[in-house]
């Protein structure tokens, strides 16, 4: 009786837990606009003030939001715009244009997109849009027509701002900033970028007014929490520090060490041989023949557990390592160069190899000894 009860209790608990998991996952995965702003309140307030002034006073402004990836730049601006749009007098008074440097890869496309988002194409009715030059002068004419007090302010949001700076002559940026600096249609240009070096660009430098810096990535935190969350089960209803540690280990796992775990003993031997070659020749590149010789030395003198494979078999193992990109040819493979003598480099660090070996399942002892000392066969 009691066991049944506890079973049903368990079922209910499991349901609740999965619900909780779902909610939490949603919060982690979707950038919900309800999330609070931590650490950027000052910047947020500043941004809101700027946008408000553009909307209400018709003052032109330009802002560059700089911060590393995942530091919440987009969230900041989305949050600000959302708050602005909730105020009625703002939402009626502001036009928004969203551009992304990854989508609008040149000024031509960007101009079309601006025209589309400003609904200007309706004005020309049935006109099929003409050349780039026509588009530009059309748009500029439209923007220049206005003045501070009567025109509707336009907010330009340029995501991946640095990519716009690579456009030819920076025509779009120059003109946007020119408009923002003259008494034409009020615009607010908001650039989002993770590059700090923009301030070195010629025309953009003039207009950098504000920098925001936020540190560390939120996205990686979300991933970490997701991993930890997945471990929550009815029998284990609360996230513990251990869970987090484990998740962290999962996150920070070395991918190459993982690959090494799955290699055959022969391949491990080859890698150890390469390591020794690196030690002896001080990181000079090696070829298959050298590795094979080293391997032969080991097998003939010391090895008890490793079978002396035929050369073609070893070659196959060597090629497998190359496919896994654990080794890399020095230059492009040419057709006429013999494969045995092609120069290669190892893409594993000594520490990585040693760590991997320690965890390698069923590693023969002599192989392990050989790895620790290159002189072990003497």
């Amino acid at each position: 009786m009691s066991s049944r009860k506890s079973k049903s209790n368990n079922l209910i608990q499991a349901e609740y837990l999965s619900q909780v998991q779902r909610i939490l996952r949603e919060r982690f995965c979707h950038q919900s606009p309800h999330s609070n702003l931590f650490g950027v309140q000052v910047q947020y307030k500043h941004l809101i003030e700027l946008l408000k002034r553009t909307a209400i006073h018709g003052e032109s402004n330009s802002v560059l939001i700089i911060g590393p990836r995942g530091s919440g730049k987009t969230m900041l601006i989305n949050h600000a715009l959302k708050e602005l749009m909730e105020v009625e007098e703002m939402s009626e008074n502001v036009l928004q244009v969203h551009l992304n440097g990854l989508l609008q890869i040149n000024d031509k496309i960007a101009l079309k997109e601006i025209t589309r988002q400003l609904n200007l194409e309706n004005v020309v009715g049935d006109k099929v849009f003409g050349s780039f030059a026509e588009n530009l002068s059309f748009l500029l004419e439209a923007l220049k027509k206005g003045d501070r007090t009567s025109s509707c302010p336009v907010i330009f949001i340029l995501d991946e701002f640095d990519l716009f700076a690579h456009h030819k002559n920076q025509t779009l940026l120059y003109n946007l900033f020119d408009i923002s600096q003259s008494a034409q249609t009020p615009v607010a240009v908001i650039g989002l970028t993770c590059r700090l070096s923009l301030s070195e660009d010629r025309s953009v430098r003039d207009v950098l007014q504000k920098h925001f810096n936020v540190s560390k990535s939120l996205r990686s935190l979300h991933t970490l929490l997701m991993l930890a969350l997945n471990r929550v089960t009815p029998s284990h209803p609360f996230m513990t520090a251990a869970d987090l540690m484990e998740a962290n280990q999962l996150c920070s796992m070395d991918s190459k060490a993982n690959i090494v775990h799955g290699l055959s003993v022969l391949e491990i031997c080859l890698i150890i041989a390469m390591k020794h070659l690196n030690d002896i020749y001080e990181e000079e590149p090696f070829n298959f023949q050298m590795v094979y010789n080293e391997f032969q030395k080991f097998v003939q003198r010391k090895a008890h557990s490793v079978y002396n494979f035929e050369k073609p078999v070893v070659m196959k193992a060597f090629e497998h390592l190359q496919q896994l990109e654990l080794i890399r040819p020095m230059e492009r493979t040419s057709v006429n160069a013999q494969r045995e003598y092609q120069l290669m480099k190892l893409l594993l660090d000594n520490t990585q190899i040693m760590n991997a070996l320690q965890k390698y399942p069923n590693c023969p002892t002599d192989v392990r000894q050989w790895a620790t000392s290159s002189l072990s066969w003497l």
């Binding site: 030059a133 509707c152 007014q209």
Partner: protein, 862 residues
Amino acid sequence: MAYCPTRLRTRQTYSWVDKPLDRKLHYQTYKEMSVKIEGRLPEIDLQVGQFVLIEGDDDENPYVAKLVELFEDDSEPYSKKRARVQWFIRFCEVPVCKQHLLGRKPDAQEIFWYDYPACNSNINAETIIGHVQVVALAPDEVIPMDLKNEKTFFVKLSWNEKKFKPLPPELFAQLDKLQEGNPRCQKSVEARTKSTESPSWTTAERVVKRIESRHSTSKSRQTPSHPVTPRARKRLELSSFPRTHNTRISQQTSWASLESPGRMKRKVAFSEITSPSKRSQPDGPQNSSPALRTPEKAGEIQQCCAEDDKKPSPDGCMILRTRVPALKTTETSEERTLTPIKGGQKSSVVPSVILKPENIKTREAKEPVQDEATSTPHRIRRKSSLLTLNRMRQQLRFLGNSKSDQEEEEFLPVAKISASDSEEEEASTPPLPRRTRSNVSRNLHSSMKSSLQTPSKTPKKTPEPRTPRHATPRIRSRNLAAQEPANVLEEARLRLHVSAVPGSLPCREQEFQDMYNFVESKLLDHTGGCMYISGVPGTGKTATVHEVIRCLQQASQANDVPPFQYIEVNGMELTEPHQVYVQILQRLTGHRATAHHAAELLAKRFRTRGSSRETTVLLVDELDLLWTQKQDIMYNLFDWPTHKEARLVVLTIANTMDLPERLMMNRVSSRLGLTRMSFQPYTHSQLQQILVSRLKHLKAFEDDAIQLVARKVAALSGDARRCLDICRRATEICEFSCQKPDSPGLVTTAHLLEAVEEMFSSSYITAIKNSSVLEQSFLRAILAEFRRSGLEEATFQQVYSQHVALCRMEGLPYPTMSETMAVCSHLGSCRLLLVEPSRNDLLLRVRLNVSQDDVLYALKEE
């Protein structure tokens, strides 16, 4: 008859008719001249007092003038046959920047009396192309729109380079007389005199009379038993008494005729019923709706034209033409005024209607008539007409609303209207052949327009062809008025904004004076020249030029300098250097052309002598962007002013002082000449003066604070824009830090220092300071590796081993390779590091993008 033939195609011989009237040494005046065109029989007689077309820059639009005198002048080197003329000016010849002074859209055939004595009126008589008809109209008369007759121009206003004025009465009378003084128009003069007998008549009635008489003239001249004439008169008489039953019918018919081709047919049938003679049927629609261009009407016009063409005289046309305007004036007699479409903008398709209560009443009264019409089943079958009807009803309903609230109307969203326009076109398309389609849809369009005003009125003019080329786009206007600054700081911020144009430019007096003198002297001498202006950004180059131009424009208003045309192009606003030609041409003449064609047109314009040309001042900003391999653009820009006829002053602006030496070929830089001006960066005292002048009578800053920012900026760049931006930011900081928003204190030195710090502080250092522990230790590892190897570059593997070693030393758990790689690429994406593509894996090379000292400094702070 050859209408404005080009010189290339035909050869013309000009000869004097009669003996000279007056004979002096080297100078004989004549009364008449005949032009014989090769291969064509009738010679053109040119008499003093006639209106003529004169060959100009543009073959499509020759100049129009009145012959004042014909004479032979032996002292002229090339052409002895000379003429003195009074110019008329087309709207497209009016400088683009002044076209808005007209305040309405010009009609296609409208020209202006060119009242500008400085203009050269002595021309070569052999540039005369042929006759043209010019009709003087009183300002309140409506210019008829008739595309068929390009040979008649209408003059209502005079243009004196400053403003449009109505024709002086004596001039009007003179022109009127001229128009009728022609012996072939005797009859119409009679009509005129008849009409002037009773001065109390409205213009409309007068015109009706005139038409009658003209009909009779045509009758008497061509086909004595023409049945059209009496009927036409009768109808016109009817329509001039608006309250009769017949008018109602005609109004209804005109309504119907506008709506759809289906209605057209009905309407024709209708007029067949009313008209006693079948012969007169085509005249019906013409009278009730002159602007309607249906095939029937076009045919009829052609027929008439053909009849007219039989006569050798060009005046025959005129009579037919003037009939149409007269009809339109009849309609205006119903006291409904069309307000001009503002600025010719598409968005103002809904004209701002001034509604009078009576008008609304009549409109409402007319509605049932329309509804009645819709109930006819055979009409409803037509989908297109149904659509239009619905739309019209909507419009009417909309008008009804707007009566109560006129404000709303102005804020009608643009998109909606244009969308309905295009729908309208679609709706009207399907069942019709191509030619009629466009015409009908045009009419529909215009009927929409007129339906907003008076349902019974036929459109006065064909709406301007919907060429989107001339559509001027604009951002929609804001819904709420912009707020005015509430406190001192906001006011200061407004004044400190770069866009706020100061009333005067302090600290640039010398440059201003030099530039002013240069341009003014060129204007006074009627010559051209170039000037090269250089200076680093934010030193007031463009602002000074604008100021000079503004002052010169004021001076020309006061007649101190001759009027001039000002054009501005910016190299950064062009997608491609050759587009500069397109822009210049467009701003100069309003035409659009391809870059190549525009270059040719401009060259032609600047190298040939124009008759009524004023000096052009051209500002080319960001000149360095116009550099091409061939340097043809710069060459042209500097070559045009060297021609005597060009009268072109070119002012060019660029950042570098040595652009002419560095970039230009010798032949280009030699044409540029030696007129250079370089703007030095502002000194701190100048910057201070600028700030003080902007903040005049506004106590927002401490004096020390202003001096501080001026010195800081002057030490760095002398960029006034930067200076203003810092001050603006300081007001923000001040406002932000202040607790009471109503009475913020002064901006102090501390606020400004904070702003300066923000503006000039290196973003790299902040970024490093804020980066994560792992990133910081990776940077440390890089520094250690550099120090170890003595090189400024290391592979990732080397850095990683250093990193691991560092971690061990500090007793930290060292990160895995993958983590470290992620850190490395993250720093690379911030451009703190310069890294190779990450497929190189361990071997990718890493460099610092910041100086090592900066990194050390940033890391030490912790």
